[in-house]
Each structure stands twice: as structure tokens, then as C-alpha cells.
Symmetry: C2
Subunit: 92 residues, 2 copies
């Protein structure tokens, strides 16, 4: 086996791990969406507005504190900005 | 307890679930980043370019097939577009 083929096989193994991680990430994002929808239904009853910048900042701060890399905190923030945007707009 | 207070308590419970889900999501994203970095190191050896649109489309198609909601497929695609962008640019 050449060095090239060996590297290709290694890449294939890492991609299989990524596929399994992505499956778990999407399942957790769907659970998160279910919770977001539940909160959205409760907000009018609790006299709370649908958009809550304080809670968003709390989420960013918390995730940055527990982030232990290799992602940098601004990577986490960039991904979560999109996640929170999608969750806000999600259709029931 | 008023109905308002009750709704606030329920929202607090859902937020605690979200905090726990976010912790798991960030941990999985960091594992994914480790795998992405490993692949990036192997690519020159495998004579592969760093950007691979075919693999990106394969990831989207796969995740849409296993998405069982409440997120729509375009929600998954929007979040993953950001995840893949961050993973491509991640610093070792």
C-alpha cells in the first residue's frame, strides 16, 4: 500500500467518526428545538417577549466557559448565533 | 401561585434542559473539530484538496435523510452550513 492510499484510508476512518458525531448532533438539535417550541408556547402566559437578548448572552457566556477546545470561543459563538437564529424562527 | 408564575417555572425547567443539551452539543462539536483537524493534516498526503464540495453535499444529504424533526431540512442545512464553515477555518 502506498502512503497516499494509507492517508486515504485514515481519512475515511475519521469521516466515519464525523458521520456518527453529526447524527448525534442533529438528534440533540432536534431535542433542543422541541424545548424551544415549548418555551415559545409558554412565553405569552408568562408575559415574556419572544426575543430575550439577556438569555442569549447568558447562553453564549455559559458555553464559552465550558468550551475546552479545539474550537475557539468565537467559533462556538459563530455556530450558536446560527443555532439560536434557527431556533427563534422554527415552525411548530 | 398565579398562572404567570407557573408558566415562568415551566420555562425555567425547559431552559435547564436546553443548558444540558447545549453542553452535550458543544462537546460533540469539539470532538468533530478534532476529527476535522486530523483530516486536514492527512489531505496533502492523500493528494486531496482542502475543500471538497462533494463531501459537503454528502453530509447535507445524509443529515436531511436522518432528520426526523421538529427541525425542517432547511433548518439543518442552515446550521450545518455554519458548522462546516467554522470547521474549514478552524485553527489547530
Amino acid at each position: 500500500m502506498t502512503e497516499d492510499q494509507n492517508a486515504e484510508i485514515e481519512i475515511g476512518k475519521h469521516r466515519a467518526v464525523i458521520d456518527s458525531l453529526d447524527e448525534q448532533i442533529v438528534a440533540l438539535l432536534n431535542k433542543r428545538a422541541t424545548e424551544s417550541l415549548a418555551i415559545r408556547m409558554l412565553k405569552p402566559q408568562a408575559q415574556m417577549g419572544l426575543y430575550d437578548p439577556k438569555r442569549e448572552e447568558e447562553i453564549f457566556t455559559r458555553l464559552e466557559a465550558l468550551n475546552d477546545g479545539p474550537m475557539y470561543n468565537d467559533d462556538v459563538r459563530e455556530i450558536y448565533a446560527t443555532i439560536l437564529k434557527v431556533m427563534k424562527e422554527i415552525r411548530a
